[in-house]
Symmetry: C2
């Protein structure tokens, strides 16, 4: 089975795992970022990392917002692990850069000079930083840097569109799995009511747009603050915008006011599983996109509430996901506006 996908082990990067032996790169403690590539690998000159929002938030909290301490920790993680894999949140992010060298057997279709974004997590991407992150101020999840990264045969990378600013394209691609899977789930149902928790964020606003496009009868956006409520309501992306703390199950269900057939969780803080389950109609579906989701809290929560709901682990990969998300950004002005406003108001959002 592995062979059909491009050579046992190396296609998924097993040969880059230093410790422990036998696990896939994402599960590894340390990867080997040696710049010499194998025949099915690609080496990328990195210009920017985009840290996962939950990861940046954790680092920010752990260091009391001290930007120097945050920068030192990120540099240290990359140096020690050979990848940007936050050991607390388990999450990474993505990167943008330019292809330096593509092995002759790489199936990714990339050539030197292509400016790309990786659509696989930094948690499995061999990475070496060569400038000590000196150009990063530590104040946002977007990390300008110089270094190199390695892509495997079974990776995903997208050539950056030339009609969009790079930071914008990058922040869209970073969350492009959410609208793609939302579209698939919603499109498989007849006129569902869709609730998005954390609806004013990046994955949230794209998911609202994707749900509407997929034929949702009604889309409801839940946000935590009055400021976000006003901002989201002004966009018209949701039929209704409601406010509640997503970690408070009773408040979430009360704010939504009606059971959702599909509930999409885009809130990047822990503890939102029970609210999502309680908000969902019997027979409905919860899609968890937040990396802060706890498997056992979801599984036991649904059982404990006697909730017959289907719960999906938000897979970051759906074929065509990057193109769909970029297309939503281009064609729905409100989405682009939210992304732009958000980038200005809260660089870590």
């Amino acid at each position: 089975m592995i062979d059909r996908r491009g050579g046992a082990g190396t296609a998924v990067g097993l040969h880059r795992v230093l410790e422990p032996a036998g696990v896939l790169p994402q599960a590894a403690l340390r990867l080997d970022p040696d710049p010499r590539i194998g025949p099915d690998e690609v080496r990328v000159r990195v210009e920017r990392l985009n840290l996962d929002a939950a990861s940046y938030r954790q680092l920010h909290t752990a260091h009391g917002g001290d930007p120097d301490a945050i920068r030192r920790e990120v540099a240290g993680i990359i140096r020690e692990r050979g990848k940007m894999h936050n050991p607390v949140t388990g999450s990474g992010g993505m990167l943008v850069g330019t292809v330096e060298e593509a092995g002759p057997d790489s199936p990714l279709g990339l050539k030197p000079g292509d400016r790309i974004a990786t659509l696989v997590s930094l948690t499995l991407t061999p990475l070496r930083i060569e400038d000590g992150l000196a150009r990063w101020d530590g104040r946002s999840e977007q990390v300008p840097c110089d270094g190199h990264a390695i892509l495997f045969a079974r990776s995903i990378a997208a050539v950056l569109p030339d009609d969009l600013p790079v930071p914008l394209a990058l922040s869209v691609m970073d969350v492009c799995g959410a609208p793609a899977l939302t579209h698939r789930v919603v499109g498989g149902l007849a006129d569902p009511v869709v609730a998005v928790l954390g609806a004013a964020g990046k994955s949230g606003s794209l998911s609202l747009a994707a749900a509407r496009r997929a034929g949702a009868r009604r889309v409801i956006g839940l946000v935590p603050t009055a400021e976000e409520e006003t901002r989201l309501a002004a966009t018209g992306l949701a039929d209704r915008v409601v406010r509640a703390d997503a970690r408070d199950p009773i408040a979430v269900a009360a704010a939504l006011g009606e059971p959702a057939d599909v509930t999409v969780v885009c809130v990047d803080v822990p503890g939102c599983e029970h609210g999502a389950i309680l908000a969902t109609a019997p027979g409905g579906t919860v899609v968890f996109f937040s990396m802060a989701t706890s498997f056992s809290a979801a599984a036991l929560g649904a059982e404990g509430l006697a909730a017959d709901v289907t719960m999906l682990v938000g897979n970051g990969y759906v074929p065509g996901h990057a193109d769909m998300a970029l297309e939503l950004l281009r064609s729905v002005p409100a989405v682009r506006e939210l992304f732009t406003t958000r980038a200005e108001a809260d660089p870590a959002g």
Copy 2:
């Protein structure tokens, strides 16, 4: 929305949460096991706990198998938390007992004297132990004890069948979500190939039987040892039995030899996410039942492998799940044989 389900908050036990305020009982640090019941509650005289397998295994490992230390820790957890909620694994188990008092507004249909098993997790069930677990030898997950527990309006409990020994019925009900959800997923597909990882265990063997009943074209059982391979092969529950360490993704895919349309994960050790994803055909489904599953490992693993697979959080509740599992046990002699053998060979299995 809450009101329709039986009274805001109390139906799901909010009033029993001591710390922190506002979370549901499963997320709470401490519950109040006060024996005085509300009008929609039920008090049960507990005779036996059945600890979650992952929880017992963790306790066993942490204490080097010392049964006295294991017993002390379980008693301590229940005393401190007001529930049996392993803080490391996040999991609990279930209990069996006899209804002492049912409030007039309880919708569970129970009456004093009914001998029942709870089908919601111990992690959200207020519990007080009154005998210090003195009768438990600490050597198995089945814990004879005396004490009381509280059921909420929105709980699930099943009256024990009188044609099966209690420990057997209990150990079937403990995992009854797995065969029920497997049946639902497999039944929704046309002639799928189904792989069960951890197929010789309780949830694994029931899932094999459920997959076959739901119309699987071929069911493949994966086990870790030669002994389990022999035992499972002898039952005929699987069309093929293969052996591999479920934590080794390449080995899992190689052992199965063909991509599975549905992969059911019943292995109660961490690190099986990537093997399950790699074993699954594009467009296929992975159902995670193990409480040792890591959400981020699953989400990022699928993304990192560019795997277009649907990943389900194994919900412990599917309507009719207990009846279906008991019926499988009664009608498929091999399942009953495996349960019985397993109970004799490995009390913690």
